[in-house]
Structure formats: structure tokens, C-alpha cells
Amino acid sequence: MICQKCAKGNANVHLTKIVNGEKTEYFLCEVCARAQGDFELSFDEEFPLHQFFSDILEIIPPGGTEKLPREASEGLQCTSCGLTYAQFMQIGRLGCDSCYRIFSPGLHSLIRRLHGNQKHIGKVPARAGSSLKLKKEVERMRSEMQKKIYEEDFEGAAKLRDEIRQLEDQVFTGGEGLEE
């Protein structure tokens, strides 16, 4: 068959368009089909992300004994949203924030492969940031308290214990207050 547009090339592209139920058919050569430019905003042209994932996932790091991300979390299911790891591998999207925790063995290895990194060093939510700081402070004071107990400085340890309680209350109310 000869191209309907240029009447020269071989019509090896068969284009069927259905617009509002109205069907139009074209038989075009590759050049005309491309030039037609009718494929702008065509909905099925999105990047096949799952394929991208599986490509990345199948690469075994040279010399590594690390498990493939696909295997590391095989059979897992998120208890919060119900997404299975197999589904995630297909759609390339996670279901909720808990997925990150539940799928962590395979997912973290995938993230490391995607970003070459697995530690966030950017912006931190201001409020979460302050409670993070408090948490770290509590940790530090706890180890200091243990030290005082070991040194039999019980008075100092008790003082620290009260301070820790106070801080923990702050973290707690800070955290809860956000839920509202």
C-alpha cells in the first residue's frame, strides 16, 4: 500500500484515531507518520518506569555478594496500605510512608542504586527538626546518666533523670500536637 499523504512511501504505519467516538484511519509511511506530529500528548508514551527499575535491579554490582533488591524483599506486604513488594516492582510507586520501613531491605538497596546514596542531608521540616534535636539530646543525657550511675554519683544521675523526663515530655507533646 502507498502512503495516503505523500503518495510515495510505503504505508507501513496504520494509524487509527478515535476522537469522540469518531474513527479515522490513516495509512502512512514512517516519514509522514512522524511528520504528522499527532503524537503530541499521547497518553501511552510515558516512560516505562517499572522497566527502568527492573533493568537497574537486575544489575549485580561487580564483585558484590549483595542480594538483588528484587530478592531481598520478596514476598513482603505493607501492613499499613496492603501493597505487596511484587506490586511495587510492577507499578514503580510505593503505597504509603510505611512501605519505606517495611520494604527496607530491597528498597534501600534500590534507592542506593538510584541515587548512589542513602542518607538525606537536605532540608528538614522545622518542627521535626527541633524534635530530632531533642531526641539526640536525650540520647546524650542517657549515656551520661549511665556514666554517673557507674561512678555512683546517684544525686547527679537523679538530676539528669528528671531533666530527661522533662525533655521527653517536650518531644512527646511536640509530636502529638502535630497530629491535630
Partner: protein, 388 residues
């Protein structure tokens, strides 16, 4: 044929002399018959224009726009793709409530409920780069909060619960970052984000986890294409962790010699490192493009002017223009304008055309679905109206 085209090319001068004449659109006699329709059409055309098209900003002769997108999710609610209808609705009303409560910040903004729009109107928003294709397909309980100048947008229930977006003309990554970051701070005061210390902001797609930041710029690189250097350069760009796409992002076609460059890595770098890195690469591309333009100029100034003139002639006089062809011709004219060879066409007009000639905008102007043939016809009509 050649002769004919040359004559058309010269036609430009005639129009230039007419510039001061209020009858700029004199050739569209039909419009006199439909004066009312014409006014409505002018209004509609104005609706399709936004700030990023105004042709200003640093490096506007190469960089068309800069975009910054910040993905955020609400703690404890499934991401939009897995959320139930009620959960999507919950996110939608939560944000609606926040926008209403934060009157002093958002009073001038408009909240657009996307499921309330016709598919064509949604397509127009995509073509203006304000929403994603995903939101055209799945508009239920998704919304766009848009600043009056259409620079700042907050998308609700896109791939993530929230996508904060700033879109500015020219190369203005820093300003765009400041805009999204400050809106992020406003929202963070009242929303508990899905965040973890180690991985940062948690997103539906693991390719965005960490900062959740996607920075990008749209570049016009005609001289690199014409001199055949583009593939080499773009593959080098790919090697430094950046992606190159067409004008409409992920998976869209390269057309009109326009290239969207964006970061891929979102974790393990600070936001500033991400956009500064992108900025550095874009500056290199700008220098390469300038060098290639110089090269073309040395090879023959008239050759370039001829290319622009011919393209202008076709745009001004053709009756049926396919999208790809029009984009290519606009790129030719644009190169002439950017190099100071064509002085009566503002960059603003050419930027607006990039959007106006797309199928959604054309159909919105005509308020009906257009066949392929009708679109080609209407595209040429619009181009002739807009070009001086």
C-alpha cells in the same frame, strides 16, 4: 517554489512598516463578521498566557523557563495512587481548609478543582506546564492552587499529595527555589509531612525520595542541533546525573529544538547543591550554544537570516500547519530573533505560540473538539494572528 518563498520572506518587511497601524489583524476580514466571537477569542487567548512566557529573565535568548518542583506527602495517609476515594477526598478537603485559613497568604490565589474542568481545559493547563498529564487522566479530588501571576502552583493529589511548583521565565533557579521553599515552610507549619531522618521526605516514587526536589530548565539549542553537536553534548549531560527530555517532561518528544534538563538524583545532596549543579551544567550548555551560534554566523550571516525569513514566510502564509512542522519553523524564526536578525518579533510572542498552537489550546479557543485537519487549519490561523 523557491522564488515564491523568498517573496513571502520579504513580506515581513511590509508587515513591519504596518506596525503602527491599528489594523494589525487586517487580513482576517472574517473577524469583522464575527466581532463578538473575536473578542471572546482574544480573552481566551489571554487566558492561555502566563508569566513564564514573557521572554524576560537572565539568558532569555536560550533559556525559556526555569522550574522547581517539590514533592511532599502527608504522614499516615496512603499516597494518591493507592489512596481510596475517601482518603483522596480527605487530603483535598484538608488542603482546601488550610488554603482558606491562611487567608493572608493565599487570598489572591485561585483554587482550581480539576475534576470540575472539562478534559480540554485540563489539557490547556498541561500545555501551560501548570499540571501534569497524570492529573489530566485522574482528576478526581485533585486541585491546583495557583498564584495570580501563575508563577507559583500547589498541586494537590498528583503523584504525591502535594507538589509545590514555581515556574519563572529565563534562568532563575535560585528565585524559583526560594519561592517553593517558602511555600513549603508555610505548609509545614500546619501539615505533618511524611519524613524520616535517614531518607528525608518520603515520596510515592523512590526516584524522588530525599529532598523531593526536581529542578529543571527549558532550553532552546538550535545551533547545537544544526551543527550536529547536540547528541554528543546531551549524552555528556546524562553522565553527570541529569536527564534530558522534551518540552513536556518525562517521555515527551524532543520537538522544536527544545530540551528540558533536570536533576535525577534527589538523595544525598542538599537542595542548593542540586540546583547549583544544574545551574553549572546549564551555563556550560549556554556557552556551547553561543559558540555554535558564532560558528553559524561565521559560516554565513545571510544563510541564517535566510533560514529565519523562509520560516517566517511559511508561518505567515501557510494554511495548514502540523504541530511538528510549526515547532520547527518557530525555532528557525526564534534563532533569527535571538541573534538580532529579526527585530520585529518579540520573544514573548514566540513563547506564547509554543503553547497556543497545541491541540488543547486550539480546541479551547474553538470550544469544540477539532479533527486533525481542523487543528492544522486553526493552528495556521492563530500563528498568523499572533505574528506581526
Amino acid at each position: 517554489m523557491k522564488n515564491n518563498e523568498r517573496k513571502q520572506g520579504r513580506g515581513k518587511k511590509v508587515f513591519k512598516e504596518k506596525e503602527g497601524n491599528p489594523g494589525l489583524q487586517g487580513e482576517t476580514e472574517k473577524e469583522l463578521d464575527h466581532k463578538g466571537a473575536g473578542i471572546i477569542e482574544d480573552q481566551k487567548r489571554a487566558e492561555m498566557i502566563c508569566t513564564w512566557m514573557d521572554g524576560t529573565g537572565p539568558e532569555a535568548d536560550i533559556v525559556i523557563n526555569s522550574r522547581m518542583q517539590l514533592a511532599r506527602n502527608i504522614k499516615g495517609i496512603p499516597f494518591p495512587c493507592l489512596a481510596t476515594e475517601e482518603q483522596r477526598e480527605k487530603v483535598f478537603s484538608l488542603l482546601e481548609k488550610i488554603f482558606k485559613e491562611q487567608q493572608e497568604r493565599f487570598s489572591a490565589y485561585s483554587l482550581i478543582n480539576l475534576s470540575g474542568l472539562s478534559p480540554i481545559k485540563r489539557q490547556v493547563l498541561t500545555e501551560k506546564q501548570l499540571i501534569s498529564l497524570l492529573m489530566v487522566r485522574e482528576p478526581e479530588y485533585s486541585a491546583l492552587l495557583l498564584s495570580p501571576d501563575e508563577v507559583m502552583g500547589i498541586l494537590v493529589n498528583e503523584e504525591d499529595h502535594l507538589l509545590l511548583q514555581a515556574l519563572l521565565p529565563g534562568l532563575q533557579l535560585e528565585k524559583a527555589w526560594e519561592a517553593v521553599s517558602c511555600h513549603d515552610d508555610y505548609l509545614e507549619e500546619v501539615i505533618d509531612y511524611a519524613f524520616c531522618e535517614e531518607l528525608g521526605y518520603l515520596t510515592a516514587c523512590p526516584t524522588k525520595v530525599g529532598t523531593g526536589l526536581r529542578a529543571s530548565a527549558l532550553l532552546h539549542l538550535p545551533a547545537l542541533v544544526i551543527t550536529g553537536q547536540i547528541n554528543r553534548i546531551l549524552s555528556a549531560v546524562g553522565q553527570v546525573g541529569l536527564a534530558v527530555e522534551g518540552i513536556y517532561g518525562e517521555g515527551s518528544q524532543m520537538t522544536g529544538r527544545l530540551f528540558q534538563i533536570s536533576n535525577q538524583v534527589t538523595l544525598g545532596q542538599t537542595e542548593e547543591e542540586i540546583w547549583r549543579n544544574l545551574y553549572g551544567v546549564i551555563n556550560k550548555l549556554i556557552n556551547q550554544e553561543r559558540a555554535a551560534r558564532e560558528q553559524l554566523l561565521n559560516a554565513g550571516r545571510e544563510k541564517l537570516a535566510d533560514r529565519a525569513g523562509r520560516a517566517y514566510g511559511i508561518l505567515k502564509h501557510a494554511r495548514l500547519l502540523g504541530f511538528q512542522e510549526a515547532m520547527q519553523l518557530i525555532s528557525d524564526v526564534r534563532l533569527g530573533v535571538e541573534m538580532g536578525m529579526v527585530d520585529n518579533i518579540p520573544l514573548k510572542t514566540l513563547n506564547e505560540l509554543l503553547v497556543l498552537i497545541r491541540s488543547g489550546c486550539l480546541q479551547n479557543l474553538k470550544e469544540k473538539t477539532l479533527s486533525h485537519y481542523e487543528r492544522d487549519l486553526e493552528r495556521s490561523v492563530q500563528i498568523q494572528k499572533c505574528l506581526p
